[in-house]
């Protein structure tokens, strides 16, 4: 118990004193996971919308793959990205393994199926006649897709939350492709794992509290937008 209280005290101290190392780790976490979520939104919403709207052979298999991808373990993603970016791997020439870019790639791969799966469900849930109605209003195919995405915007915010929540909290892929290099690729989760391993529970708890606060604030903002009163 004393350990936990000490940890929370330390966390508050680190936050109040704006510890430069903690701030750096927090900022990198935000940047990396934010960018990965943004990329996953672009790819995931596009993929989810196309699969929801277009009937093609093998569509069921694609839907199954997306659903499977929603639960893929981050360490597996970490392993494959590491192999791909390894010195002798297919993308070894890029020399981006153990860089923040590698973490962004891995996290985007983790979040994309989550966003795609939720987008697919949200767009599919809209009445089919709405598509016809939009086209009957004179919309082009692109305008129709954009209007459908706008119509499903509230469930799509859940996709943002789930995608961001999935990547900000993962540790396996970040540690494998980022290497937890101090001041370069160390993010909140990898730092927490390291401090726990070293027995620095107070710092680990402090980092954990920051991570919790961080995810809570972002999700609170998104929930606020999602639940806000619609026009009277």
């Amino acid at each position: 118990m004393e350990l936990i209280i000490e940890g929370i005290r330390k966390a508050i101290w680190l936050l109040i004193t704006l510890d430069p190392e903690v701030l750096g780790i927090t900022w990198l976490s935000l940047k990396v996971s934010g960018l990965a979520t943004f990329i996953s939104l672009f790819i995931g919403i596009s993929l989810g919308t196309v699969v929801a709207l277009v009937r093609f052979p093998g569509r069921r298999i694609v839907v199954s793959l997306i659903n499977t991808g929603m639960g893929v373990p981050p360490v597996v993603v970490g392993l494959f990205v590491t192999i791909l970016l390894w010195r002798n791997g297919p993308f070894g020439l890029l020399e981006i393994l153990y860089t923040p870019t590698a973490i962004i790639i891995a996290q985007a791969i983790i979040a994309t199926p989550i966003v795609a799966g939720i987008s697919l469900a949200s767009i599919q849930k809209l009445p089919e006649a709405l598509r016809l109605q939009i086209l009957a209003l004179g919309a082009t195919r692109l305008q129709m897709i954009w209007m459908l995405i706008k119509e499903a915007r509230l469930p799509l915010l859940a996709a943002v939350m789930a995608g961001f929540g999935g990547v900000i909290s993962e540790v396996g892929a970040s540690i494998m492709v980022g290497g937890n290099i101090r001041g370069y690729t160390r993010v909140l989760t990898t730092a927490t794992v390291m401090e726990t391993g070293r027995g620095n529970f107070d710092v680990a708890i402090a980092l954990g509290v920051i991570l919790l606060l961080f995810t809570f604030c972002i999700n609170a903002i998104l929930t606020g937008v999602q639940q806000r009163e619609r026009p009277r």
């Binding site: 709405l130 915007r153 509230l154 026009p231 009277r232």
Partner: protein
């Protein structure tokens, strides 16, 4: 100006290899209000979707103002000259104003030029007072008004209405039909409406097409459809409850004597003696009198019979009479009380020879 706004030739649509629509020819004149009526599943909505270009046709041609409507880029230009309203209002999760503006935004109009158009159409459908409300928080009637206003806002040359009143309660429906009729007159819009309610069609239409099994089985003036159906399916759908098969017993100068189940009925028509025919009698054309005495009536047909059933149908009652053939009459509650109509009651039923529509029996 062309005398047709829309022309359809040889239109065929199949679903899963099963033909669902077969329209050899259909034309719509500018300013006309054409209603497609028929039971559910007869291809009315499929025809509307084909006309709108939203459903790919396997075969056939559609011409708009004499120009062939083809797939591809031109289809967008075509769709932008039409509007379509569905049974469900299908409004967007936005304010009523934004919904009415949707079609104009799609056309890339500026906010400044959109405003007066939206305001005009909100007013046309009496929904100005709810313009700023969320479309999710308005009643079904208000939502359908918004949907109609959204369609009219784009100033369509042709408006396609797919059962637009089917989900509305009767008073709301009445009031929206009035507003739609008013909007049609003001904007001189041409309309094609699918409905399973013949009364809606009668209120608004210049012409009615009756559909069955993906085909138009009869098209014409509402009065022609209601009083001169071409077959039993059309007759049943337009509310003719007495359909009698018989043989022409005598014919002279357009007057016919038809024998039905041993009873002779006076009709009018150009048929030869011995021909098998079908007689249609509208229930409103049958008058009932007490069975105790023979009434004074100018009607040529007068039959004594027994009441078999008395059923309320809204404000009227449907009375079934057995006079060696089954006859159906619609009477008021006052008549039910005055004549003491109940099963087993003896009555005299009269109807004019000219009120009977006769067709050749296709089974012979």
């Amino acid at each position: 100006m062309s005398d047709t706004i829309l022309e359809v030739r040889g239109l065929k649509v199949s679903r899963g290899g099963v033909p669902v629509l077969d329209i050899p020819e259909l034309t719509v004149a500018p300013g006309e209000f054409l209603s497609l009526i028929g039971p559910n599943g007869t291809g009315k909505s499929t025809l509307l979707l084909s006309l709108s270009g939203l459903l790919k046709r396997q075969q056939g041609e559609i011409s708009f103002h004499g120009q062939a409507v083809e797939n591809g880029g031109q289809l967008l230009d075509y769709r932008r000259r039409l509007a379509m309203v569905f049974q469900e209002p299908l409004l967007f999760d936005a304010t009523v104003y934004e919904n009415v503006a949707a079609g104009l935004k799609i056309r890339g109009m500026s906010r400044r030029s959109i405003r007066p158009v939206v305001e005009e159409n909100l007013s046309l459908f009496d929904i100005t007072h709810i313009a700023s409300r969320s479309a999710r928080k308005i009643s079904g009637g208000e939502a359908q008004r918004a949907s109609l206003a959204r369609a009219f806002a784009t100033n369509p040359e042709l408006i396609l209405l797919d059962e637009p009143f089917a989900s509305l309660d009767p008073p709301t429906k009445e009031s929206i039909i009035d507003d739609l009729g008013h909007a049609m007159n003001i904007k001189h819009t041409t309309a094609v409406m699918a409905t399973h309610d013949r009364m809606d069609a009668l209120r608004l239409s210049n012409r009615i097409a009756v559909m069955d099994g993906g085909r138009i089985v009869q098209i014409g003036h509402p009065s022609e459809i209601m009083h001169q159906p071409v077959n039993e399916i059309v007759a049943a759908f337009v509310g003719i409850e007495t359909i009698l098969e018989g043989r022409v017993k005598g014919s002279s100068g357009g007057a016919l004597l038809v024998n039905i189940n041993g009873r002779d009925i006076f009709c009018t028509g150009d048929y030869r003696t011995g021909e098998e025919v079908i007689c249609f009698i509208r229930p409103e054309h049958v008058t009932l009198f007490p069975g105790e005495y023979m009434p004074e009536s100018s009607a040529r047909n007068m039959f004594g019979g027994t009441v078999t059933k008395v059923q309320p149908i809204g404000l009227l009652y449907r009375v079934g009479i057995n006079c060696d053939f089954s006859l159906s009459a619609h009477v008021t509650q006052q008549a039910v009380e005055d004549l003491d109509l109940k099963p087993g009651r003896q009555v005299v039923a009269t109807f004019k020879a000219t009120s009977i529509h006769v067709i050749r029996n296709p089974r012979y």
